[in-house]
């Protein structure tokens, strides 16, 4: 437990150090207004990373999140362009359900056909991108075709924070609850930590993975609408390559790629770390060639730290379980 805590404390410390470093070169970056802006900008990454966390916990990976986001975004944008009267609530529901359906496709293929998730999602990633091209004919949906309400919603301010940021906060809070306080949330850990043991405790590995993909898909769908509305443009290539950033956020946050280890708080911090780096690089006047190298280094460092902790973690979980059983026995 103390190790787990220290891992997040370490990352939190790294974020504060990073902010301090940036502030020495560009003091305006740590102004409250700007931090809100950075958080808002990071929200889509955060929401996707939360979904990805669940998938990675179950020893899978979802590479189709960005394509899912792009397809949902395109559908929402086209719907709005064709029928500007459709209320935003309806569009949100559509986005979440469409995303969930695409996640279910991944989940079913992994569950029923036992295909490795990396292959499944690599395939569906291209399929979803292809569908965008088919439905849009490669054409863009542009700002002037979208309604005021459609593009205005993520920007609307509630209690000083844009709606987009609130979505990030809500998703994080809901995920914290779901992972720590629901049977399904605990099943994600069980399936990833030891699939065989999970089966003996009555947890279906495939079904759990299916729900993980569905959850990840639904969150990607939600981001699809938010993304398209935020940038007020939808085209085939939106969020191209974003799935890797999402995986990177999870990895930086300490989610073990081998499954079963990591926390939601870690993911939140990982996404924030990456978001701060991405937003700070343009203002601290570093050559674009170095920018890529810096982002890459951050990921490698995180994975290295992760690997060194990974072995310990397996034992920790067992010890925790042991402690709990002994506690239970004494109580």
């Amino acid at each position: 437990m103390s190790l787990l805590k220290s891992r997040e404390a370490l990352l939190g410390g790294a974020i504060l150090l990073l902010l301090a470093l940036i502030a020495t070169r560009f003091p305006g970056f740590v102004a409250p207004d700007n931090l809100v802006r950075v958080f808002t900008d990071t929200s889509p990454l955060l929401i996707l990373a939360l979904g990805q966390t669940v998938v990675i916990l179950t020893r899978c990976i979802d590479l189709s999140v960005a394509a899912n986001l792009a397809l949902t975004g395109m559908v929402c944008a086209m719907l709005n362009a064709a029928m500007p009267g459709v209320p935003i609530v309806m569009i949100l529901c559509l986005a979440v359900s469409l995303g969930a359906v695409m996640g279910m496709v991944n989940g079913l293929l992994v569950w029923k056909l036992s295909i490795p998730s990396i292959v499944v999602t690599l395939g569906t990633m291209t399929i979803y991108r292809g569908i965008i091209f088919l439905i849009s004919d490669g054409a863009w949906v542009n700002a002037h075709e979208m309604s005021e309400a459609f593009t205005g919603f993520p920007r609307a301010s509630i209690l000083g924070l844009p709606v987009l940021a609130w979505f990030g906060i809500l998703a994080a809070a809901a995920m914290l609850l779901a992972i720590n306080r629901t049977p399904l949330g605990r099943a994600f850990y069980a399936v990833g930590g030891n699939p065989h043991a999970a089966v003996y405790t009555g947890i279906s590995v495939g079904r759990t993975q299916f729900w993980a993909f569905t959850l990840s898909g639904a969150l990607a769908g939600l981001c699809g609408y938010l993304w398209v509305a935020r940038y007020a443009v939808a085209y085939v290539d939106i969020a191209g390559g974003f799935e890797l950033e999402v995986v990177a956020a999870c990895v930086i946050g300490g989610i073990s790629i081998a499954g079963g280890a990591g926390t939601v708080v870690g993911t939140i911090l990982g996404a924030l770390f990456l978001g701060i780096v991405k937003n700070a690089l343009p203002v601290i006047d570093i050559s674009p060639f170095w920018q890529m190298a810096i982002s890459g280094t951050a990921i490698i460092v995180a994975v290295t730290l992760n690997n060194r902790n990974a072995k310990g973690k397996g034992r920790i979980i067992l010890r925790r379980a042991q402690e709990q059983t002994t506690e239970g026995a004494t109580a």
Partner: protein, 332 residues
Amino acid sequence: MKLTRRLFGGAAMATALMAGSMAQAQDPVRIALVVKALGIGFFEAAAKGAEEAAAELGNVEVIYTGPTDTTAEGQIEVINALIAQQVDAIAVSANDTDALVPALKKAMQRGITVISWDSGVAAEGRELHLNPSSSPLIGNMIIKMAADELPEGGQVAVLSATTTSTNQNTWIAEMNKVLGNYEGIEVVGTVYGDDLADKSYREATGLMQTYPDLKAIIAPTSVGIVAAARAVEDAGKVGQVNVTGLGLPSEMAGAIESGASKSFAIWNPIDLGYSATMLAYQLATDAAEAAPGAEIPMGRMGTLTLDDNTEGAMADPFVYDASNIADFKDIF
């Protein structure tokens, strides 16, 4: 070039051709405008320009055609059909630089004038190529649009695509060459949005933070210019920072409306179709010959000067602003 081909074609062919060109005096000159694919707004607009040229010339019939999808095979079929119909000229925007060459060579052997426009064909497959614009003209235009709004001068920054994009790098280099002509304009930096909406948005936001006195963002890329305009709107700097560069009217209509962008440029497809038709007519009627250094008139668009590669640039990119955006935003 055309002459040598005709000689190679043999005497019989030459006689047939002479008879053909005599007949042209009475029959309308039939010019085929072959586009990458039918149903694309840009090319529909070019066809409008071609019709305009035909009306101006009088004795011209424009055949607007192309495959249903943007493939070279589809265009080859279309070209073979046009050869069979014995049109007088083919003006093609090619889906492939090399794949069309054999079909177009065959057309030229049959005495059909072949030119390429917009997207070119290798030199041996056409008599001349019409570029919509040229790198020096584009480089000059993007800085001119920024400078026109800044009589007092001020800081401007460039938001490009990727660090390795050939087009953008060439345009920016050409822009820097003519920078001295615009007094008081200071280019403070170039950033790269990688043609991704989110990265371009972030880079544009970063520029506004780093340079609080920034007056204009020049984005010579269609993804970048839209994202930069959005970033300016979200930062509440409309009127303070002007976004300009290269973009499409349909994509930029929102930014013009909000005032984030006062003007931007891209080639005008109507002018392009018009010029291509004019050039094809000049060559098909033997009023002009496509040779390096030749100057061929193209009606209201002035003259086209051919370089050593028998290519020429039509004009400055066409500037779109609040006054004309409505006419173009539904076209392309």
